[in-house]
Symmetry: C2
Subunit: 277 residues, 2 copies
């Protein structure tokens, strides 16, 4: 089975791949340098599965990945919450007191702002990726430099744990979708993820939302996203729980199609118990 | 009058300040290096007004600015749509054919991806800000380097227009709010901007949305944003038009307070005719 993710070994996405798919001889894990190529290869069946981050507890919807799901024959069959825990990794022999420069992704650096406040002598430098920053430290062989990356990344590259759990907010968690090509997916569960574009009429969004109310679906989240090439016209990413719904799924779906210009099922799965802290 | 914005002269925000406020001897325009300080100074009355980007036609809600409006005594009294047009700026005497490196904000670079495809010999380099990239080119005095910045930025810094309108999507537009301290704001107009946190009960968001339906408000946009310190609990940024509403505003507001845990008026103004392309 061929599973794709964005990043290199040691990235948070790859850590999720390792926890979600059983390591067997048949497991072929492929890292991509960007989300468009990853989604394209899943949509054209070059991959069997893909693990893609969709939301972060601090920064919200990850638009650069979910925007790509639109109009594609792909669907999420499971979700997974991964706690974001940052470690400061240095070369073997280095000490926190001798470090001068710390490399990581700008988002990871800002997630450790408290750590930088209490260690003001450390200079934070932007790097394109957390795991790549760890690899860079390994290859650069300079004991004055360190990287902020996942617990798995530093171990993979043989680095020394200078300080673990340096993230400011302990509850920082990223949510991932396990995605498949639509025709290969078995969809069950009470959690639904949708993308809908309403008709361009006054009250169209309210009408769409009334459907969920009518069928006793619990609306959990809604995010407006611009439609490419149409200024300030939106599509909506919607999440709902259908545990209380009394009508068959097919009736809900037909009704949604009636009140939308376009509607796409982005995922159906069982709720994962959220890991926090 | 003291007006604040994020950036330096020549940034898109500063261009909006120049177009929205009459240049008089009393106009004091202050650039900030970050959004938190800008919002803080408006909320503590150190500024009379602030011009802040809230949405982009391609990338959607600008969460890093609107998230800061929450729980603050500030409100938008007007909106403005500013077309994003990028120019390639070089030193006087430089030519497009001799340029090797182009500096700009990563978002601006990606907005000109087509230009880089047809000029593959140009190396794109990330810089923290478009206007600062223009200033950097002026100070570096290297005719092999150029910056991508606004039409205003290059003129301000005495640079040469090597090629204008190099953005891939001509309709790319950023929407700004003109904001004031709450008690100093005169609020009129049919366009409302709200922030609401629902009670943590099943169906709470649907209930909130029913209010808009009940009072004939036209729901235009809705974005779920994480609440700080509460994983996967959301507040909602909502925009609506109340032109068709038959009841007094006060009744709508009281009803919203009944069905929300917290509700905040982020803006009330007349719709600006959208400039496009």
């Amino acid at each position: 089975m061929k599973v794709g993710y964005q990043g290199i070994p040691g990235s948070y996405s790859e850590t999720v791949v390792q926890s979600q798919y059983k390591a067997t001889e048949e497991l072929d894990v492929v890292g991509y340098s960007n989300f468009p190529d990853l989604v394209h290869d899943l949509a054209t069946k070059k991959l069997d599965c893909a693990v893609i981050p969709v939301e972060n507890s601090t920064t919200g919807l990850i638009a650069r990945s979910v925007d790509l799901f639109r109009y594609q024959p792909i669907v999420a069959t499971a979700e997974h919450y991964e706690s974001v825990q940052h470690t400061l990794w240095g070369l073997p022999g280095s000490e926190l007191s001798t470090i001068q420069t710390v490399y990581s992704h700008p988002e990871a650096l800002s997630q450790c702002d408290h750590f930088f406040k209490v260690h003001p002598y450390l200079e934070a430098k932007a790097y394109e990726d957390t795991a790549k920053a760890a690899l860079f430290i390994k290859e650069k062989m300079d004991t004055n430099q360190a990287a902020i990356a996942s617990p798995r990344a530093g171990k993979l590259y043989g680095l020394k744990d200078l300080k673990s759990q340096i993230q400011t907010e302990n509850s920082n968690t990223t949510r991932f979708y396990m995605m498949k090509y639509k025709d290969n997916a078995v969809l069950t569960g009470n959690q639904l993820s949708l993308y809908a574009e309403t008709r361009h009429k006054s009250g169209a969004l309210s009408k769409l939302l009334q459907v969920f109310n009518l069928f006793d679906c619990n609306l959990l989240a809604l995010n407006a996203r611009p439609i490419s090439g149409k200024s300030f016209v939106y599509g909506f990413f919607i999440e709902l729980n259908i545990a209380s719904m009394q009508v068959p799924f097919e009736i809900l779906w037909q009704t949604l199609q009636q009140v939308s210009e376009y509607v796409q099922l982005l995922g159906q799965f069982d709720v994962e118990i959220k890991k926090e802290g």
